[in-house]
């Protein structure tokens, strides 16, 4: 609750009381229609009309990845799918070659990619320098298949500036990062989001249609977004894996 | 079966032929058509203009007339049907007995094409082939949810083809008093609609609302168009002869 502290805040808490009082009184006469549901809203009688897939049955990772790639490509995102760690690192090396790099903390990049961006500018570098970077390198906290989006949770070593200031953004993504929908991500990562001041879903490059609805890519954010998918890390970590589901 | 016919003020005063066609089609469907004594206007002009006391005065009278009758009430107008089906209940929200009367009447009301479809439709053949542009009136389509029935009725007429046109579902610009209170905007909407109809190659314009038809036909005449304008009932009636 806002505690009154001096004249300015007394006026403020007066306004608060006035507004809340008015809102309370308004509800006595407010015409707020009752809920409507539509016939096809619960067509299959599953009880939850919004459920698309049955609960408890997760779609296999490969089709999630395929879905993500489809959605992201439709947005103009460049997708690279690499079979090995080494290939991921090679791809990144090619993408950043000759460019001034801004990166997440290298230890936070998967597949040992951190080595490729050793010596790059970091989120802790002065903003003016970060603003001169030509490519930003991140991992992600989630990859949303339904929309081809990357979820980026801000934190130490994961500054939002990295995916925002340079004209190009490259994200290294693992299959383990995939979620079917934003809802799934929000549920699974609720705790991490509580600890952070900012979570952004990046869905393709920056764009505008403000002038005659004609599409221009790359306004204030990166005009070029590239995603490098690597192999599943789970399989790598588990040296005695019997059957990889992917 | 006995059905009550509510002709509507526009049909009654401006185009009784449409009312006759409705009656003949209903009779062909095996109905006995009764015209209740004392019907005037559903009151929509007053209601739409915000004069709700006046609208209630008229509505009470209409409800009184209809409450003395039984059976389905067939109305050859989407907007008047919507008035009786949805808006009377809204008008009498604060009056329990009038509300109940309104509800009792509302459930009996059927717009013409809605009724014909419920009775299994009608098969007929038209002597001169007709390319028909069907204009779905707004209250009929969005207020009552009647979308397919008029098109099905047209398809069931051998020799009649439904011709689609651009932005077919957009409002024609009549809107009752809107056409007089905002004449330039109404005319602009009418122009859009008529340009699309002209371009689609139809030789007839058909709708289920006389208001829309008077407005569009008036505009077609101003353009010197030869497109024949009919209420859906007239098209069906012509095919039945």
């Amino acid at each position: 609750m806002a505690t009154p502290r001096g004249r300015g805040t007394e006026i403020m808490s007066d306004a608060r009381d006035v507004i809340l009082g008015r809102v309370e009184r308004a509800l006595r006469t407010a015409r707020i229609p009752a809920a409507i549901t539509h016939e096809d809203a619960d067509r299959d009688g599953s009880g939850d009309p919004e459920q698309v897939a049955l609960p408890g049955v997760a779609l296999p990772r490969t089709s999630l990845q395929e879905r993500f790639v489809l959605e992201a490509r439709a947005l103009g995102v460049e997708i690279y799918v690499e079979p090995t760690r080494a290939a991921v690192c090679d791809r990144l090396r090619t993408l950043v070659a000759g460019l001034r790099v801004l990166s997440w903390n290298p230890t936070l990049l998967p597949y040992g990619c951190g080595a490729i961006v050793d010596g790059a500018l970091l989120g802790s570098s002065p903003t003016a320098e970060q603003a001169r970077a030509e490519i930003g390198v991140t991992a992600c906290h989630g990859a949303i298949a339904e929309t081809g989006s990357l979820a980026l949770i801000a934190g130490p070593g994961c500054s939002p500036t990295v995916s925002l200031l340079p004209p190009v953004h490259v994200a290294i993504v693992r299959p383990e990062d995939l979620f079917e929908s934003m809802g799934g991500f929000l549920d699974a990562r609720a705790e991490a989001m509580t600890q952070s001041a900012n979570c952004t879903f990046v869905t393709g490059p920056s764009r505008t249609g403000d002038i005659e609805l004609s599409l221009t890519i790359g306004v204030h954010g990166p005009g070029r977004v590239a995603i490098v998918f690597g192999p599943s890390e789970l399989r790598m970590k588990n040296s005695r894996s019997t059957n990889s589901s992917s | 079966m006995i059905v009550q016919l509510f002709p509507t003020c526009l049909v009654n005063e401006f185009h009784p032929a449409a009312g006759m066609s409705v009656a003949r089609v209903l009779e062909r469907l095996g109905c006995t058509v009764v015209l209740p004594e004392g019907l005037t206007c559903c009151g929509q002009p007053a209601f739409n203009a915000g004069f709700h006391d006046e609208a209630r005065q008229v509505a009470r009278h209409i409800l009184g007339v209809l409450a003395r009758t039984d059976g389905p009430i067939v109305i050859p107008s989407g907007s008047c049907s919507d008035m009786l089906v949805h808006q009377y209940i809204e008008l009498f929200r604060d009056d329990a007995s009038a509300s109940a009367a309104a509800r009792a009447v509302a459930v009996r009301c059927r717009e013409f094409s809605q009724f014909v479809a419920e009775r299994g439709g009608i098969h007929a053949a038209i002597t001169r082939p007709a390319r028909v542009a069907y204009h779905p009136s707004c209250h009929l389509m969005r207020g009552l949810g009647v979308r397919r029935q008029p098109l099905e009725i047209i398809s069931a007429i051998a020799g009649a083809t439904s011709v689609p046109f651009d932005e077919q579902e957009e409002c024609c610009g009549f809107g009752g008093l809107f056409s007089i209170k905002n004449p330039e905007i109404s005319a602009s909407m009418m122009d859009r609609k008529l340009t699309a109809i002209d371009a689609c190659g139809a030789d007839r314009l058909v709708s289920c609302d006389l208001g829309c038809l008077l407005h569009l036909e008036g505009g077609l005449r101003r353009r010197g168009s030869a497109i024949k304008v009919q209420h859906l009932a007239e098209l069906v009636d012509e095919a039945l002869e």
Binding site: M1, A2, A15, I19, R25, L27, R31, I32, A35, T37, H38, E50, G123, A131, T147, G148, A154, P156, P160, L164, M182, T194, A197, N198, T200, T203, R207, T208, G209, D210, I211, T216, V219, G221, P222 | E13, H15, L35, T40, C41, P45, N48, A49, F51, E54, H61, E169, E170, C171, G175, P183, E184, I185, S186, A187, S188, M190, L214, G218, R222
Partner: protein, 469 residues
């Protein structure tokens, strides 16, 4: 038509270039919306649930506001309450002065247009720049936005090119890529130098104090990441109960507005920077504005507070498509504007707006949260009749109509009189110039002459003849 709206509408109707721009862009956006919704599984259920969430917030608004405030404070944000637009501006300027702010970068905020915030900043000697491309061009051109999500829908690329040439001293171009690049270069500097970022809020989540910003350009991210102060100005109605509800509304907002599944950036802000963050605002303020919303809540149009500002109703409205946004005379145009504007500014100066509709219902059909706009327009018309002066002829005419239409015998006589009078002016069954109020009709179309005999009379004759035979 008479009055401000009527005149502005007439001007708009005479503007051929506006007509072309509006026609094309609203049709495009309408098509994109249809495609976007079609790609949403169980869209009906999502819309129903989203509507339920917004109505639930309204029903519990006092507690929702209190809870939202408490969560914001826990997140480290400061919460301010503004009754009027002047209060909001004063609060925000005070925040700026206290923090030593000299330059403000604004991401799109319609509420800030409502309060004329830019003027308040300027009067306080604080530089403010719009960073949303459309709003930036509006600011350069000293114009006003005409659509909720496409502010310069009324301008051609040539006009934009001329504005930029004049105001930015750059070579004239009508290539949209070039024009966007001019803006990008100029505004990038502003982002880096700004002391304060000012945003609106597409949604505020009650359960955890999250502010959600939906943008395509990246300016929303810039102004909530780089400047040391972030102020979010929002109406008290922009709340949703939970993150699950936010998810539902996010599924609907971009699809309804532009056909995108999501905009390029969906940003969830949860307070100022954390202690170990490398960037982000040191101070975050949320200003909750009433400005008539509590008054709207008290009446028949409370439901309009569920609007999520997608603009779909504008693109579907044949009236908006004919006259564009400026005709509506205030910040919010189109069907939603016809209800919100009388609510926040008062009905008397804007009584024409609820009548500027044929009640076709296209708006209700496309609204993601199924707001019953026609019902609310009718309620406002009733209120206008009760509380504002009406043309004497109309008031008298409808009183007479009510009397006559409830007395069948009188009705028959009166109708016969009118029929005879009109038939007297007809040639070949049609009237080219109608008298009195009906003259508005015949300016643009012929008026069919009434029938010599009514349906009822013909019917009774036929029935009588049948009985005789």
């Amino acid at each position: 038509m008479s009055g401000g709206f009527a005149e502005r509408a007439r001007d708009a109707l005479g503007n051929r270039q506006l007509h072309i721009a509006l026609d094309r862009t609203t049709a495009q956006l309408g098509l994109r919306r249809a495609t976007g919704l079609a790609s949403l599984e169980r869209s009906d259920a999502v819309r129903d649930r989203a509507r339920a969430a917004k109505m639930q917030v309204l029903r519990t608004l006092p507690d929702s506001l209190r809870q939202f405030e408490a969560r914001l404070v826990e997140n480290g944000a400061r919460v301010h309450w503004a009754d009027t637009t002047a209060d909001a501006n004063r609060i925000i300027v005070d925040i700026a002065m206290t923090a030593g702010v000299r330059r403000v970068a604004k991401s799109k905020s319609m509420v800030s247009e409502e309060t004329h915030l830019n003027g308040a900043f300027e009067r306080a000697g604080i530089a403010v720049v719009e960073t949303d491309l459309g709003e930036y061009i509006v600011q350069l051109a000293d114009d006003r936005p005409s659509h909720i999500i496409a502010p310069i829908i009324h301008m051609t690329r040539e006009q934009v090119g001329r504005v930029m040439e004049q105001r930015l001293h750059v070579p004239y171009s009508d290539d949209t890529q070039t024009l966007a690049r001019y803006a990008r270069e100029r505004l990038r500097d502003e982002f880096l130098r700004a002391d304060m970022g000012l945003t609106g809020a597409n949604f505020g989540v009650v359960e955890n104090g999250t502010i959600c910003l939906v943008t395509n350009e990246g300016n929303g991210r810039m102004v909530t990441t780089l400047p040391r102060v972030h102020v979010a100005l929002m109406g008290i109605e922009k709340l949703v109960p939970t993150m699950a509800d936010l998810d539902r509304l996010l599924k609907l907002l971009a699809r309804s507005a532009t056909g995108q599944k999501l905009t390029a950036y969906t940003t969830l802000v949860r307070g100022p920077r954390r202690s170990r963050d490398e960037c982000g605002p040191e101070e975050m303020h949320v200003v909750l504005l009433d400005n008539g919303r509590s008054r709207i809540l008290a009446g028949e149009t409370a439901e309009i507070l569920g609007c999520i500002r997608c603009g779909a109703c504008l693109n579907a409205c044949p009236v908006y498509r004919s006259v564009g946004g400026h005709a509506y005379g205030d910040v919010y145009p189109g069907p939603v504007g016809a209800i919100v504007t009388p609510g926040i500014r008062g009905l008397a100066p804007f009584a024409e707006l609820p009548s500027a509709s044929s009640l076709c219902g296209a708006c209700r059909e496309v609204c993601p949260v199924r707001l019953d706009i026609p019902r609310m327009l009718l309620a406002l018309r009733r209120e206008a009749v009760e509380r504002t002066p009406q043309p004497a002829a109309l008031r008298l005419g409808l009183k007479v109509f009510a009397r006559v239409a409830s007395r069948p015998r009188v009705y028959r006589v009166a109708a016969a009189f009118v029929r005879r009078m009109l038939r007297g002016r007809a040639r070949g069954g049609w009237i080219r110039r109608a008298p009195g109020m009906a003259s508005g009709w015949t300016r643009f179309r012929d008026l069919k002459a009434p029938a010599a005999e009514t349906f009822e009379s013909a019917w009774r004759r036929r029935a009588a003849a049948a009985r005789k035979s």
